[in-house]
């Protein structure tokens, strides 16, 4: 047998073996998860695994991403839109213990408890009545407005008529975790021997840096509808290595973590390539307290000198959507127009600010975290500004932790690369970043008018008035003050052979719940 024929037999044998285990799904999940406890994690790789192992009151629909019933069968909302009463299904944990409304209460209290150190405690603390005091250690647990009215009824009262309440409840901070297991086993409760869950799958094996293997949970309330025998989450950080595995049919599904941007030219021509514009925004943040960016004219000049369409068409080429606005259009809210590409105006503004033709422009550095993609974008920006405005900016790539430290702690930057992935689909989640004194307000932006608008929006019911208020706030932030330079919205992309697998659809929030996955 020649080498070619031999290889073909090997490939056939491999595919046959794969077909026999057609119910076993393997894919790359990105970096090794920090923890399997949804209360203590905040990253996307961790969320993907949590989605398989646990369930909350509601889950994301496969196609639209909208909240649909999960552990809760149905719910009623009070007339003032603040109180939700959920009726839970009659189901059990994976070890047979009945799942009750008290489990929901315990799980949410555990997230709020300061001792747990949950990164998303504020999601509950800021939205549920009485929760904020408790999460800061200043009030009793009994004051938190969550109740188990009976073993199958759970009630929560929010601080206001939150339009995004249900969507927020799909977040893994709200997942129902087994507090009894946490009490019994301590930090080791997430390990295969002790693990207890209520999701479509249950933990079978966990080899650090290698893989997490989950198998179908026969006690899941909808076990009939779960069609995969097992899912394996690989922990490969390098996109090229993961993509090679996809090419060799060693993994079945390539997420962002397996699509190297340098090879996008060949990838986007593949028939198994799926993409849809997403809602994560990529932008550059000004430190508005440092020269020369304390002058709004300079900020606007830099923003208006950028031809975003050229960036998206010529450099990125994966279908990203150029934007001069910060918050994506959603519901009744529309993205602001922002300050579009206008080179003449940009030059005029720069001259007005005292740097005609770029002369005398003080030294300026753009910091970004190490990545080939960020470097390419920054290099393109550097050239754009040199050609268009005659100014020379330096580029500095920092290793991840150093980058975070510079951006968040010391604020020792003039321009920093940034991106924002919303925790829940509402414009306020984006705009809250820029409130005076906000935790993630790394650019030190402060505008009392903006703060007033945001405070007012908090009290408004969902509807046109609220939308307009938020739009006004965004216009202030971007069009008027140019506190940042938005560049584009990410495109949510993945590779999947639709002839073999189903249940994964391109949606704007890029959440693909393993609950819906199946083999054809």
């Amino acid at each position: 047998m020649t080498a070619g024929r031999g290889a073909r037999w090997v490939l056939l044998a491999l595919l046959a073996a794969r077909a026999l285990c057609a119910q076993d799904f393997v894919f790359n999940n990105g970096p090794e998860p920090q923890s399997l406890d949804p209360a203590r994690t905040s990253g996307v790789p961790e969320t993907r695994i949590s989605d398989a192992l646990f369930e909350g009151l509601v889950v994301n629909d496969a196609r639209t991403g909208a909240p649909v019933p999960g552990l809760a069968e149905r719910w009623t909302i009070s007339p003032d839109l603040k109180t939700y009463t959920f009726t839970l299904r009659a189901t059990t944990w994976s070890d047979g213990t009945p799942l009750t409304a008290q489990d929901v209460v315990d799980a949410w209290l555990r997230v709020l408890e300061p001792r747990t150190g949950a990164p998303y405690a504020y999601l509950l603390g800021d939205s549920i009545q009485g929760a904020s005091a408790f999460s800061h250690g200043r009030g009793p647990a009994a004051d938190v407005a969550i109740r188990a009215l009976d073993p199958r009824t759970f009630r929560v009262t929010f601080v206001g008529p939150l339009p995004y309440a249900l969507a927020m409840l799909t977040h893994n901070a709200f997942m129902v975790t087994p507090s009894f297991a946490v009490r019994r086993y301590g930090p080791g409760w997430t390990r295969p021997g002790h693990f207890v869950g209520n999701g479509p799958y249950v933990l079978k094996a966990w080899k650090p840096q290698n893989k997490v293997v989950v198998v179908k949970n026969p006690r899941y309330w909808d076990a009939r509808d779960i069609h995969l025998a097992s899912i394996t989450f690989l922990a490969i950080e390098d996109q090229n290595v993961a993509y090679d595995k996809y090419l060799a049919h060693e993994i079945d599904y390539a997420t962002e973590d397996a699509i190297p941007t340098a090879r996008i030219d060949e990838i986007r021509l593949r028939p198994d390539y799926h993409h849809v514009p997403g809602s994560t925004v990529y932008y550059f943040l000004f430190n508005v307290t440092r020269k020369p960016f304390d002058d709004v004219r300079v900020r606007k000049a830099l923003a208006m000198a950028i031809d975003r369409q050229e960036l998206v068409d010529g450099v990125l080429k994966a279908g990203e959507v150029a934007t001069a606005g910060f918050v994506p259009t959603m519901g009744g809210f529309h993205t602001t127009r922002g300050n579009a590409f206008d080179l003449d105006q940009a030059r005029r503004l720069l001259a007005q600010a005292g740097y005609p033709g770029g002369r005398g422009f003080p030294p300026c550095t753009v910091v970004y975290n190490t990545s080939a993609r960020h470097r390419t974008i920054c290099e393109w920006l550097q050239q754009t500004w040199r050609r268009g405005l005659g100014i020379d900016v330096q580029l500095q790539n920092l290793e991840w932790n150093t980058f975070l430290d510079t951006k968040q702690k010391t604020h020792a930057f003039q321009l920093a690369r940034a991106s924002w992935l919303a925790d829940y689909p509402d414009p306020s989640n984006y705009l809250d970043l820029f409130r005076t004194g906000a935790g993630n307000n790394d650019g030190r932006y402060s505008n009392p008018a903006f703060d007033r608008l945001m405070a007012r929006a908090e009290t408004l019911a969902p509807g046109p008035v609220r939308d307009r208020t938020l739009e006004q706030a965004e216009t202030l932030l971007v069009d008027q003050d140019q506190a940042l330079i938005p560049l584009f919205f990410y495109v949510n992309k993945f590779l999947l052979d639709d002839r073999r697998w189903g249940g994964i659809y391109a949606n704007t929030i890029d959440i693909h719940h393993p609950r819906w996955w199946f083999a054809r």
Binding site: T376, E379, W380, N397
Partner: protein
């Protein structure tokens, strides 16, 4: 004639050849080593091209022409290559989708042809192709070579100075000083290299200078050990005793007498360290800790090229061949130098054998 008279008369003995300095001996022996000579020539060529890069008629290494991204190497003007590539891509797409070209695609191609004819930028020639931002790879290679060679040379010099000085001192002084220095060497060996580099970069900023300093930091250690070993071996040699008897200070003994005698080993080590430095720099580039954009080094070019090896092989081939060739040459030169300078080696030699 008596039998004795028949014996041939021995000629007068040859006068002794004039004394030659060790350097001249070494040079003569090196000349006989063909591979080393060829390497020397090659290295000179590298030095000329890279160091003289600003004088050469190259495209600016940081200038991006997005229209020209990812073009293959060619002797023809970029415009022609561009048109050919786009046409080939279109043909592939049409063949895969089994359809004729749409009017829009046709107009696009026609528009491109017009632009190529009119815009002077399309008359450029990219001998080694372009990268993802349309930058000329040849000029990036040469400018990158400056950085890599600079890092290699400066790093080696630093490492040599440190390693030779400390190794000689440790070897000659012995006792507590020796213990302290060697303990320090052992400790530095044991530290997590990556973390130390990260810390250095963070504390002192990202610049080429700091990069080679970071690489130099750990490279002097082996040299130090080796020099120390040599010095210990020579410590009790007669010329040292003589020098001491004449009242030479320890410093003088170390640096004037001992060090030159270990020169052979040092020089050989140096030529082998330059490649190590370049590899270390490329390892750091692979991890994202190398030179800052838009600068390039051979290491960063190779790391980027390896990622798109299948799609655009020239982006890896050019830098990889350049780097490998340089390392090749340095290795062979090191071989030749070792043979030339090592007095115990039997290759060549003053009287030949």
């Amino acid at each position: 004639m008596t039998p004795m008279e028949a014996l041939p008369v021995p000629a007068a003995p040859d006068p002794l050849p004039p004394p030659v300095s060790p350097a001249a001996v070494a040079w003569r022996r090196l000349r006989g080593h063909r591979m080393a000579l060829a390497s020397l020539v090659l290295l000179a060529l590298y030095a000329l091209l890279c160091l003289g890069a600003p004088l050469l008629p190259l495209h600016p290494y940081a200038e991006q022409v997005l229209a020209h991204e990812n073009l293959p190497p060619s002797f023809q003007p970029a415009g022609i290559t561009l048109l050919a590539t786009r046409e080939a891509e279109l043909r592939q797409l049409l063949a895969a989708e089994q359809r004729p070209a749409s009017p829009r695609e046709r107009t696009q191609l026609a528009g491109l042809a017009r632009a190529v004819a009119s815009d002077p930028v399309h008359r450029r020639i990219y001998l080694l192709g372009t990268d993802a931002l349309g930058r000329d790879l040849l000029s990036r290679l040469l400018y990158g070579g400056r950085i890599s060679i600079l890092i290699g040379l400066l790093g080696t010099v630093t490492a040599m100075l440190l390693g030779v000085a400390l190794g000689s001192i440790a070897g000659y002084a012995g006792g507590l000083l020796d213990t302290v220095i060697m303990r320090g060497v052992d400790i530095l060996f044991g530290l997590p290299y990556l973390l130390v580099v990260i810390i250095l970069m963070a504390l002192f900023g990202r610049s080429v200078f700091n990069l080679f300093f970071a690489v130099a930091l750990l490279s002097w250690l082996t040299l130090c050990r080796v020099v120390r070993g040599q010095v210990i071996g020579l410590r009790h040699a007669e010329f040292v005793t003589a020098a001491r008897a004449m009242g030479a200070s320890p410093a003088r003994i170390v640096f004037r007498h001992l060090t030159p005698n270990t020169l052979g080993v040092i020089v050989v080590f140096a030529t082998l360290m330059v490649p190590e430095f370049i590899m270390a720099e490329s390892f750091l580039s692979f991890l994202g800790l190398g030179v800052s954009a838009p600068l390039a080094s051979w290491g960063s070019l190779v790391a980027d090229g390896a990622a798109v090896m299948e799609l655009y092989p020239w982006q890896l081939l050019g830098p990889a061949v350049a780097m490998t060739g340089f390392l090749f040459a340095m290795n062979f030169l090191g071989d030749g130098l070792r043979d030339a300078l090592d007095p115990q080696s039997r290759r060549g030699g003053v009287h030949g054998r």
